[in-house]
């Protein structure tokens, strides 16, 4: 009798706790979308930011975010693919490998501000790259490498050994088996991992403040020569991203409509992250179907 009543009370409490958390989470998402979405317009998404007047957009910041994301993935994907392949296919099971795994885990748990500071010290100051897209892309690479390596390693580990044995039986070398059989088979989960990490990179700000810089100089979108400093493609120009922009105008902004702009920008960020999430799931499923002929 008593135990039953306690059970009822506990169940009620658990319902209440779960409901409370759901309300917080939904209120959070709802707040951002309700505050931000009305502010999103074509003008807002394409025009440059204004520092002292209302009515500015986030065009350059949005472009910078995507460009940085692209560069960071371009650098980090091959490296983490190689590292993932070595860890899963070649590395012997010994203390050294364990130590290497620990090191990668430590890297993935470093606060992103520390990664940013390292980027500042190493790329901006030591290599004299200045506050630039390139420094930012390298910092994001450092930030992304451990996560991507981990997900690629997991993806490879999920491929059954039958596939590898089939490769060896055909007289392929280990490397050929990996590149021709295992990696293609793992491609759906690798791509899912890449897109998910893209969502993380897209919203990262702390690692970029002191590497990609906090200013977004005007860009000449007619000039696609990457060596020209006013070209959008120039890797040596400072580039404030969307996330950094939100931080900047809120912490030291003099912009009169900072609240509206950050609400709009936050909504854009959230929608982008949402899209990356759905894209990851959809692409993974689609590719899996395509490759397995199901």
């Amino acid at each position: 009798m008593n135990a039953k009543r306690i059970d009822k009370i506990a169940t009620g409490v658990l319902y209440a706790v779960a409901a409370f958390v759901v309300i917080i989470l939904i209120a959070l998402l709802g707040y951002i979308l309700i505050q931000g979405v009305p502010h999103i317009s074509w003008h807002f998404l394409t025009s440059p930011a204004l520092a002292f007047e209302a009515g500015g957009g986030i065009g350059i910041q949005l472009f910078n975010s995507f460009y940085l994301l692209f560069l960071a993935l371009l650098i980090s994907l091959p490296i983490s693919l190689g590292a993932g392949i070595y860890l899963n296919e070649y590395a012997p099971q010994n203390t050294l490998t364990g130590l290497i795994r620990t090191t990668i885990e430590i890297l993935s748990s470093l606060p992103s501000v520390v990664v940013g500071l390292f980027g500042y010290l190493f790329f901006v100051v030591q290599f004299k790259l200045g506050f630039s897209i390139l420094s930012g892309a390298f910092a994001l690479t450092v930030f992304n490498l451990p996560i991507l390596t981990r997900s690629i390693e997991d993806a490879l580990a999920n491929i059954s050994d039958n596939q590898r044995e089939a490769g060896y039986a055909l007289g392929l070398s280990r490397w050929e088996t990996v590149t021709k059989i295992v990696v293609p088979a793992a491609l759906p989960s690798i791509i899912t991992g890449v897109v998910l990490s893209a969502g993380r990179i897209f919203g990262e700000a702390a690692a970029l403040i002191y590497t990609a810089g906090q200013s977004a100089p005007a860009l000449d979108f007619g000039n696609w020569n990457p060596f020209d400093i006013s070209s959008p493609l120039s890797p040596l120009r400072p580039a404030e991203t969307l996330a950094v922009h939100i931080w900047k105008i809120n912490s030291e902004g003099i912009m009169p409509d900072a609240k509206a702009v950050s609400a709009g920008a936050s909504a854009v960020l959230i929608i982008a992250v949402l899209l990356f999430n759905f894209l990851a799931r959809w692409l993974g499923k689609r590719l899996y179907k395509h490759l397995t002929a199901e």
């Binding site: 135990a3 059970d7 169940t11 958390v21 959070l28 693919l81 290497i100 010290l121 050929e176 700000a205």
Partner: protein, 309 residues
Amino acid sequence: MDKIRESLLKKSVASKIERRGKAISLLCLALIVGIVFLIFYFVASRGLATFFQNHINVWQFFSGTQWNPGTTGTNGQPAVGALPMIVGSFLITILSALIATPFAIGTAVFMTEISPRRGARILRPVTELLVGIPSVVYGFIGLQVVVPFVRNTFGGSGYGILSGTFVLFVMILPTVTSMTADALNAVPRYYREASLALGATRWQTIYKVVLRAAVPGMLTAVVFGMARAFGEALAVQMVIGNATLLPHNLVSPAATLTSILTMGIGNTVMGSLQNNALWSLAMILLLMSLFFNLVIRYIGRKGKLSHER
């Protein structure tokens, strides 16, 4: 005849490709490991300069309460007391973990034990999505919602430890919840069946069996959340007020290691005491993240042992 002999003695193309491929992939791995060591080397070399080059007393650095590098404090020494930031960081980390843990465990239990269907369909995707929300967005909402709320309810300016705690609570809640749910899901089904077969109610099963079996996993989740809270920079910096004073209550402006770092590093000259002192703060962050990592590994090892026994 000679041709065959030659081809047998020489390395085949395939084996050359094999060696090259292996070398390339090893190189990639070495690069990542190298980066980690570089990070530690660079941050440590700068951070230790405060003590070796500028001859700041280590004890004074960790116990001093005045932070204004470049000026001298009341004792005639440069004012580099990091205690206010250290206290601030630990306070918001511990407080937010304290608030988040019961909610996270409650939600995770609901997700896995009470209503697995709704848990899998609604709660799971929503929490996983919230893990991915950028921290500046949390900071912005903190600034727009939490700070005015704290100001109107508890008085003061609204900026301070309490606002930081609330923001971090919401930030780490999804992480801790989804990791706790994983831990609960990993408890074998027959534990529950055995308990129910003995006549235990659902709550007794949850409380006496499932939660206890999942303790290592839940601890890992909480420590993971704490590590995230400790290293979080921008969201906290936006709501904490950034006053390097020892917090005497929860609603007065305070500072954390990360917030002072983000504010200061761009305004100081490389190699100066002001700059080196900031790097020392970064070093503390690095060491704490290492510490959290060790704790997680320790819990993991212990947890494995207790299951095997």
